[in-house]
Symmetry: C2
DNA sequence: GTTAGCACTCTTTAAAGGTGAGTGCTAACC
DNA sequence: GGTTAGCACTCACCTTTAAAGAGTGCTAAC
């Protein structure tokens, strides 16, 4: 069966109404509220067709119709119109995003907050993952007799430091020498390579006197490198779901929040998502626990190299048009904010 | 009226039973389950007295008795016995806490996780707040043509860095010079003093050539200092409340989670709590939103100077004995883990 | 002082009946 | 042939009613 113009109009009306009201839509309501120019009976006939085609479902005989995942998919792909963010809101988002612009993690966290605030959904933000990240230099700095700061800087401008406690006191010159040696050895190498390849031996061999200091520092150095490769997940608006009637059931709310509680899992799911705006509706989600939800993700870039994710999760009944537009706007602005200005290159890691 | 030995015994039994079952306790149950050696009728008489004294309440005429806040207060202060953590659990906690011992924030976060896991409650952990924290040195390091790393180290070993984008290129020697100048000026000063006192002018006057560079760095420097004074709040086990029958009501759950969502508020509440183990029960909480909850907090110390908090929140019906013992054990271990070893002094700030 | 007995209260659960929204079908209409 | 009015039917939802059960408070006897 073909989807006639009229069927599409009816379907759109049902989806619009249901997204707004969360109540099954009846033929009477439809003909009264929307200017379709046909009677409830005709609408009923069309609805029966739409149901047969898999676009609508029926909670029970005497209830109105509810859009299926398939209907939302059609809506998202063909029916929905662009939502335009009001000018002031655009300005306000921009302002909030650039407020902390050189504290990358803070900005990302803020982005998640803004997103959940605007969409009233639960939002995620994943900090950038380095597709390639080479080491620029290593610096060892004195703190006190037995503590030093290990500082690692990558070519993309990511900086991390760790305070190390040493087993025995050190000499400051040795520290400087070791910084230079390590930098000399690791400079330009991929972080992941440093983790696996055993270049350590080389350095250890080179200058006998440093080997002890080296031994002290190495484990923490490797551990820090690993941490640098990790992304951070921010989640906001967890309790927003309570404003959705679909989660009035305590068990549903419990399940939903339980699912979101598995942070590593969520991070993995986000990480595996495609570039750009990606929408998965209900059963389209590979994840069983998300079968009643829709997940929308978008990507932003830092310096064009690092890719971060922004996401939103909620009931399949959501304002897809608004949500996608907001997310597009936000990732665009994030990417812009984190772009290399002129010839320089920098970012921040708190 | 005096609290006779027998009344205490009955009260204890009621509290024990209610903490376990969450159901109002009746006289029959009481006489059957606990060896009190008296009949239900006698128990009823005593319960009527206890109710008159404010230790028990009555949800309705034909229900059993429920302990009041006052009863819990008595229980906590006089009746409850010490709970001994099983040896393996002690060992496991210790292992988990020392696993990341020189990444302070990670350890604190982990502590919150462990606490919520053991108590099945919602837990908090506040990273240490510096009662006094003097600046040790400032380091400005080159990243690329227009980006530098600003690194701040305090006497307690807290380290922070920020990447700065400069408006114009810089010379490396100037950077080193400025590092030394800033260190010279700010060394030994309280972070809070640096924020308020206008020492900047001095430096600016001293060496004309550096003033531009200085201008670029100063705002971010001050902002970073402010951030260093901030504490971080970790919260775990938010969804644990769903396992408590008192939160089977969706509105109650909503309220509870809504309250916990105000992170700054929670952080402030925790911050204001007294040293050591502190228990506030129901209406004892100054906060209206916590009138149905009990809050237990404990403090740990880092290097004896910085004070951090660990906390747990849940229904007034909770296993006070177990919870307090666990928290005591954990803060003891945290304080030990973060203590200065021998003569050195260090900690970590990721 | 303690206890058995009993009337009474009040929640909880189940069943029953009524209501209303909405459908599906049929027959008439244009 | 598509469209529409009419009507019987279904089913969730609400209210009412009844019955069951837990527990109390009081009284009188031990």
């Amino acid at each position: 069966m073909e989807l006639s113009e009229r069927k599409l109009k009816i379907l759109q009306a049902i989806i619009d109404d249901f997204i707004f009201s969360a109540e099954p839509v009846g033929s009477r309501t439809l003909s009264k509220k929307y200017q379709l120019g046909i009677s409830p009976a005709t609408i009923r006939n069309e609805m029966a067709d739409l149901e047969e085609m898999g676009y609508l479902t029926h909670p029970h005989t005497s209830a109105g119709r509810v859009p299926s995942d398939r209907a939302y998919r059609l809506y998202v792909d063909h029916l929905m119109s662009r939502y335009n963010l009001p000018g002031e809101q655009q300005a306000s988002i921009r302002a909030k995003l650039t407020d902390h612009f050189n504290e990358l993690n803070k900005t990302i966290e803020k982005a998640a907050g803004i997103l959940s605030e605007i969409t009233h959904l639960t939002s995620f933000a994943l900090t950038p993952k380095s597709e390639t990240n080479k080491l620029k230099y290593i610096n060892l700095l004195p703190v006190d007799k037995r503590s030093i700061v290990l500082m690692i800087v990558t070519e993309t401008g990511k900086v991390t430091n760790t305070v190390l406690k040493l087993k025995q006191p050190y000499e400051e010159e040795k520290l400087q020498l070791l910084s230079k040696l390590m930098t000399y050895n690791y400079k330009g190498k991929e972080l992941t390579d440093i983790l696996t390849v055993d270049i350590i031996k080389n350095v250890e061999g080179e200058i006998e006197a440093l080997s002890r200091l080296m031994e002290n520092i190495m484990p923490e150095f490797l551990r820090t490198l690993e941490n640098m490769l990790n992304t951070e997940l921010y989640m906001e608006g967890l309790t927003n779901i309570f404003s959705f009637p679909e989660y009035n059931d305590i068990d549903k709310a419990k399940m939903f929040l339980g699912m979101l509680n598995k942070k590593e899992h969520i991070a993995r799911v986000l990480d595996e998502r495609a570039d750009g705006i990606m929408i998965t509706i209900g059963a389209e989600n590979p994840d069983d626990e998300m079968k009643d939800c829709s997940l929308i993700t978008a990507t932003y870039r830092v310096n064009g190299k690092l890719i971060g994710k922004l996401g939103v999760i909620g009931p399949t009944r959501m304002e897809y048009d608004k949500v996608t537009s907001v997310m597009e706007f936000m990732t665009d602005n994030l990417s812009k904010a984190f772009k290399i200005p002129e010839d320089t290159d920098s970012s921040k890691e708190g």
